[in-house]
């Protein structure tokens, strides 16, 4: 495995752990690496540098991605997240995360409210991390 592929594999495992928890299927890791061939914006030097810092310092990737997305539109980090989301969505193990099968309005409302609060925290944290580590 080349240096870049190894870095992408490490990246896939870390992002997956942060977003979904648990181990990522090895098939998804390999697809994540191959998917970057058709996604030049996600392979830029700047993206690689940012990911290196995030991974080496174990920073909150979701917070950084969110703050960058709101401030800059469509950063390379968002594209990496998108790749990962597509690759896991087509697997049955992740189906309940994408499709609601259990009706429950109160539970939904509560979780949606929590999600907004979670986003606010992530945004503030992301802005701090971006400034602290010069990630923009």
């Amino acid at each position: 495995m080349s240096g870049e592929a190894e870095a992408l594999a490490r990246e896939a495992r870390t992002l997956h752990r942060a977003l979904f928890g648990g181990a990522i299927p090895e098939e998804v890791v390999q697809r994540y690496i191959r998917a970057h061939d058709g996604c030049p914006a996600a392979r830029t030097e700047a993206a690689r540098r940012a990911l290196d810092i995030i991974l080496s310092r174990n920073l909150d990737a979701e917070a950084i991605e969110y703050a960058l997305r709101l401030r800059k539109g469509d950063p390379a980090l968002t594209q990496k997240f998108q790749i990962l989301f597509y690759l896991v969505e087509v697997r049955s193990a992740y189906y309940p995360r994408f499709v609601n099968e259990r009706p429950g309005a109160a539970r939904a409302a509560w979780e949606m409210l929590q999600a907004v609060q979670h986003s606010l925290v992530k945004f503030v944290k992301g802005c701090y991390l971006i400034r602290r580590y010069h990630l923009d």
Binding site: Q79, Y86, V99, P103, A115
Partner: protein, 523 residues
């Protein structure tokens, strides 16, 4: 000598071939076909729940499903591994340069109708007011096509806009959210009608009963991933039958580049794509049905004209999300379809004609296609998408195409098409619809509306418009290109105007009308 060459196998080419069957007709087409069919049977959601991995079927070994992550975005229906053939290679075969028009061209057999929404709407006299023909000229062909392809729907309030049709199959089953919207509209109909808003069921080229050897629609929700659903009409079905019966000859792998008129026939030059060589075909008549952009390119190339700017019409679009709060957190209705659930017509004084909208559910595409459109952190977006989807409908609004001297198409010396299309929504119709739908319990905000770029509608028309007395680069009422004797334009290029309703059905009827009007219908 061949009687007629038809260029293109989309709705216009196929309808012309149907009209001319029996004559010596040759259809020239690049004619890409699907690379196969995905191993998906039954409902997409059942498959997603039961099968461990659907990467090959939904994303593709070539990562076709990730196409919109970087680069220019295309319709979600055109990017899955088994549907991307619809736009395969188009940027090489018909390069298009523009900063504000994101159109696409199809070189697939059946053209862009391989990925259409199957809405079949008859242009009425009001919408044909700028055409040199009337609705009664098209009626026999509308009727013939309705019987041929099978159209589901109902003569409800929208019949005033869509035309009354006596041969409709029963309408498709719609989602619970759409049913509630329709019921709420029925209760407040006079209020809506007084404000120029009409709601009803769509007319679709989708079978709700078996028809002509094709099965009824099975609500499998596979429209975004599986090509050639026999229940949803595709011109390929008709052309393949005509070819199988020996009534038409189809030669695939040919890209028509130009034509030249001789004394009593037309010479058509086409590139044989497998050999990389030009070949010449001769026929008494030439019918150009390659799709508006390709047809325009062929006409300009035939005259080696790299100066003239021709007009272009497209339907500007707006996507309005509607939320029905009581369905938030409900289980997703998976035995649904990604077909239009409702149609809405809205009259607005500021516009030349009514605005038409189709209301869709959200069960068609993958969640990842839309997740990053939500304004929250990504895990929060996933939570919101999961719970909002069952309550959400998307209203796709189509504005009439407006003539504007700033909007043009021309051929560059390099062979590229150059397009400029400028448009900005006045926002009045969106505002009105959001306000009125809020009254019946559908929430939305103007700030949530999305405006796809021009070209995204895939409805292009009006480059070589029909006129009673045509000038250069215009066509006669019989589709004949001014300055030619035997060249007829039969696709959207010859439309004199572009109302807000889907133009495919009218393109087909008009192509049949023109083809049948050829001397002795050729046969």
């Amino acid at each position: 000598m061949i009687d007629a060459i038809i260029v293109g196998s989309g709705p216009a080419g196929t309808a012309s071939a149907l009209a001319l069957r029996g004559a010596r007709v040759l259809v020239l087409d690049v004619g890409y076909t699907a690379p196969g069919t995905p191993a998906l049977d039954g409902n997409i959601y059942a498959a997603r729940r039961q099968r461990e991995d659907l990467f090959s079927e939904l994303i593709g070994e070539g990562f076709e499903g990730l196409r919109n992550i970087s680069g220019r975005k295309i319709s979600l229906k055109l990017k899955s591994p088994f549907t991307s053939y619809v736009v395969h290679n188009w940027e090489r075969l018909c390069p298009l340069s523009s900063t504000n028009f994101e159109g696409v061209v199809s070189f697939a057999q059946g053209g862009l109708a391989n990925a259409w929404g199957a809405g079949v709407y008859r242009f009425t006299d009001r919408e044909l007011s700028e055409f040199p023909i009337s609705a009664s000229d098209l009626t026999p062909y509308f009727d013939e096509l309705t019987a041929h392809i099978g159209v589901s729907g109902i003569n409800d309030d929208l019949a005033a806009y869509f035309g009354r049709d006596l041969c409709l199959l029963p309408p498709i089953r719609i989602s619970a959210v759409a049913r509630e919207i329709l019921a709420a509209y029925e209760r407040r109909k006079s209020h809506f009608r007084a404000r120029g808003i009409t709601v009803g069921l769509p007319r679709l080229a989708v079978l709700t009963e078996p028809h002509d050897g094709r099965p009824a629609y099975s609500y499998d929700n596979l429209e975004f991933f599986k090509p050639y659903n026999q229940a949803i009409y595709n011109p390929v079905f008709t052309l393949d039958k005509l070819v199988a019966r020996g009534e038409v000859e189809l030669r695939r792998g040919f890209l028509v580049t130009r034509f030249e008129e001789r004394e009593s026939f037309v010479e058509v030059t086409a590139r044989n794509l497998s050999l990389g060589q030009d070949e010449v075909f001769r026929a008494r008549k030439l019918l150009l049905a390659a799709g508006t952009l390709s047809t325009t390119k062929i006409v300009l190339a035939a005259r080696s004209d790299t100066r003239t700017r021709l007009p272009l019409l497209d339907n500007p679009m707006c996507c309005i999300p509607l939320i029905r709060p009581r369905y938030i957190g409900a289980a997703l209705e998976v035995n649904d379809s990604s077909l239009a659930q409702l149609n809405v017509v809205c009259e607005d004084e500021s516009l030349s004609g009514p605005v038409q909208a189709s209301v869709y559910g959200t069960t068609g595409p993958l969640r990842s296609d839309v997740l990053f459109e939500f304004p929250l952190a990504i895990s929060a977006n996933l939570t919101w998408a999961r719970y909002l989807s069952p309550a959400m409908a998307l209203m796709m609004l189509f504005y009439p195409g407006q003539r504007d001297p700033r909007n043009y198409i021309c051929l560059r010396p390099s062979g590229e098409l150059e397009v400029n299309y400028e448009w900005r929504s006045p926002g009045t119709v969106e505002r009105k619809l959001i306000r009125e739908f809020r009254r019946i319990g559908c929430l939305s905000l103007l700030s949530l509306c999305q405006y796809p770029p021009m070209g995204a509608s895939l409805h292009y028309a009006g480059t070589l418009p029909m006129r009673q007395t045509p000038g250069e680069y215009e066509t006669h009422p019989d589709g004949r290109l001014e300055g030619t004797r035997n060249v007829h334009i039969v696709d959207g290029a010859c439309f004199s105007a572009l109302p807000s309703k889907n133009l495919t059905f009218t393109i087909m009827a008009n192509a049949m009308r023109i083809a049948r009007g050829l001397p002795g219908a050729m046969a």
